[in-house]
């Protein structure tokens, strides 16, 4: 009986997860090494990968810093009433429920060239939608809860007493955070960062809407793959996809490693 279930499970994993990854690798090599290299080194690909890289870095830094602070406030702050905290807490999760396309749409509606704010900024020469800032904003939105959700439970678990002890010994806010709180939430933050990187790397729907997918200007790696598929240049699509997939697998391994450090901290 056991063997049946284990065997079935292996089968499911092989079919659902294993086969697709293998297929991409094969597909990228359809035209041999030159096909693969060509797919990667063409100028649109280089530009798209660079855009993706930029977005990932910006989003990760911003959402980690703000995420950790918000987590601290939502768990510890005395200046937030308990009911307000509960409300904010439930709002934090909202981006998880929003389809990425809708996320992109929201940003376009709010800050697009036809909107009030967008029009004003546009007149000043600042483009948000159909440009990098908009893409960063959209990605910030979808990755918003990730770091917060990892840090909050840990903060709740460690409790306030160690921080109070530090206060009694003369330590103020930053010192207490640096020497007492941070060492204990460190690995959860790392796990949150890895999740954020993975998600911003892979963000597609929101960025597609906000960027307009303009060749050489606002294309990311994922929207380039989309475009390649639409144009039937499958080998090129595969090449970029393989790089993304390899990146994801590497991130996956990092995720598992950080998770285990988190547990044993």
């Amino acid at each position: 009986m056991r063997r049946l279930w284990i065997g079935l499970t292996f089968l499911v994993f092989a079919l659902l997860l294993g086969a697709p990854v293998v297929r991409i690798a094969m597909g990228a090599w359809n035209d041999g090494w030159s096909g693969f290299a060509g797919g990667l080194t063409r100028p649109e690909a280089v530009h798209a990968l660079a855009m993706t890289g930029l977005i990932v870095v910006a989003v990760t830094v911003i959402n980690t810093v703000f995420g950790v602070m918000l987590a601290m406030y939502l768990v510890r702050a005395a200046w937030l009433g308990p009911r307000l905290k509960k409300l904010l807490n439930s709002i934090v999760d909202l981006p998880f429920a929003v389809s990425p396309v809708i996320g992109g749409l929201m940003i376009v509606l709010l800050l697009g060239p036809d909107s009030a704010i967008g029009g004003l900024l546009g007149a000043a020469g600042i483009k948000i939608v159909y440009a990098l800032p908009g893409m960063i904003l959209a990605t910030l939105f979808v990755t918003f809860p990730l770091v917060i959700r990892e840090v909050m439970p840990v903060l709740q678990e460690i409790g306030t007493q160690q921080e109070e002890a530090a206060a009694m010994l003369g330590a103020y806010g930053w010192t207490t955070f640096r020497r007492v709180t941070w060492p204990q939430i460190r690995w959860s933050v790392v796990y949150g960062i890895v999740l954020t990187v993975a998600r911003s790397l892979g963000e597609f729907g929101a960025v597609l809407v906000v960027s307009g997918n303009i060749l050489f200007k606002t294309q990311t790696a994922t929207t380039l793959v989309y475009q390649d598929v639409e144009n039937f240049s499958l080998t090129s699509a595969n090449a970029v996809a393989l790089v993304l997939a390899a990146g994801s697998v590497a991130l996956l391994l990092l995720m598992e490693w950080a998770k285990s450090r988190q547990k044993h901290a």
Binding site: E164, A166, M168, L169
Partner: protein, 354 residues
């Protein structure tokens, strides 16, 4: 006066946790805050520390008002109930923390840490982490850490609550000795009477936010000022109609007066064991319980149930035995007044061992 508190009040929402508390403590005293859980003792301690702000009232250290001073500046050592050690730091790291914050020069920090490690008997454990220590050891690290920055005042929140009973005794005497040696003013919170009586110079009984009485353990014991204090210390029995007991008939003059009788003031035994037989009345043993160092005897006199102790040296009693009972004194109280009344039939002051 080292620590003075006036008109302290604290509410948590609707709940009035601390009601108009005031007291003063002299330098070098060891004070115990004793009372049932939820009574407000920890709130008072935390307000002294600056971890909570009072709604009303003043807190003064050496005559200076410190209400607005943050906990970081108050120069207080605080020992938490669950130690609150920094889990990711070694014993040394924990102890040195307060000194590093104050930016002491490194050699001086090393010296002080070594001093405290020695003082608290933790030599050899400096490089260990909290999860590698026993409960008693962790508590000692907590003390050392609190004492390192040479505080003026030491506050302890139920320091022994999380410790095994066996070790508790040792740690208690160790704490008493330590604080005496250092001469540091200390206040600790506990709900364990024996602990308070054994360790403290003076005890403050706190119940439902009120300071019921402040005094030496002996004072409180002998002259309880409120019914709560009287019932709280020791295992007393409340007798509804005190005048029914032999020797306390005078209590009839104050109707509605009840009596509180401590086990130590109830003497029982065979007729041969008594000097003033005429003052005794007959009772019956209901139940016996072996307590390791003595017997706990439940008895009945008429319709009144009493509790007392009986030495292991004396003749063993059995349930159902008829015995003579002498109640030496009782603490009487009614709605207006409370006082101690001696058994009128005793002709001389009986010297009672407690």
């Amino acid at each position: 006066m080292h620590v003075e508190v006036r008109g302290l009040n604290k509410r948590f929402g609707e709940f009035h946790a601390v009601k108009n508390v005031g007291f003063s403590i002299a330098k070098g005293q060891l004070i115990g805050l004793l009372g049932p859980s939820g009574g407000g003792k920890t709130s008072i301690l935390r307000m002294l520390a600056g971890l909570e702000t009072p709604d009303e009232g003043d807190i003064l250290f050496h005559g200076k008002r410190v209400n607005d001073l943050p906990p970081q500046e108050r120069g207080i050592g605080f020992v938490f109930q669950n130690y609150a050690l920094f889990k990711h730091m070694t014993v040394e790291g924990n102890i040195a923390f307060g000194l590093e914050v104050k930016k002491w020069p490194k050699p001086r920090i090393r010296e002080r840490v070594a001093e405290l490690v020695e003082l608290t008997g933790l030599s050899g454990f400096e490089k260990r982490y909290p999860h590698q220590l026993s409960g008693g050891q962790r508590q000692r690290v907590a003390f050392a850490r609190a004492l390192a920055p040479e505080p003026q005042l030491l506050l302890l929140d139920e320091p022994f609550a999380a410790i095994d009973a066996k070790i508790r005794q040792e740690l208690r005497s160790w704490l008493r000795e330590m604080i005496d040696r250092l001469g540091i003013t200390s206040i600790f919170v506990t709900h364990d009477q024996d602990e308070a009586i054994e360790v403290a110079d003076e005890i403050m009984i706190i119940n439902q936010g009120n300071l019921e009485q402040k005094g030496t353990p002996w004072d409180i014991y002998k002259n309880p000022q409120t019914p709560f204090v009287a019932s709280f210390i020791g295992e007393s029995t409340i007798v509804e109609d005190i005048s029914s007991l032999r020797g306390f008939e005078d209590a009839r003059a104050w109707p509605g007066t009840r009596g509180l009788i401590r086990p130590e003031y109830v003497e029982i035994g065979k007729p041969s064991e008594f000097q003033i037989l005429s003052a005794t009345e007959t009772g019956r043993v209901k139940h016996l319980q072996f307590r390791g160092s003595e017997w706990l005897v439940e008895l009945e006199v008429g319709s009144t149930r009493l509790v007392t102790y009986r030495s292991l040296e004396k003749e063993v009693l059995h349930p159902g035995d008829e015995i003579q009972v002498l109640v030496h004194r009782a603490y009487l109280f009614n709605d207006n007044d409370s006082w101690i009344m001696e058994n009128k039939l005793k002709e001389d002051r009986t010297y009672v061992e407690i």
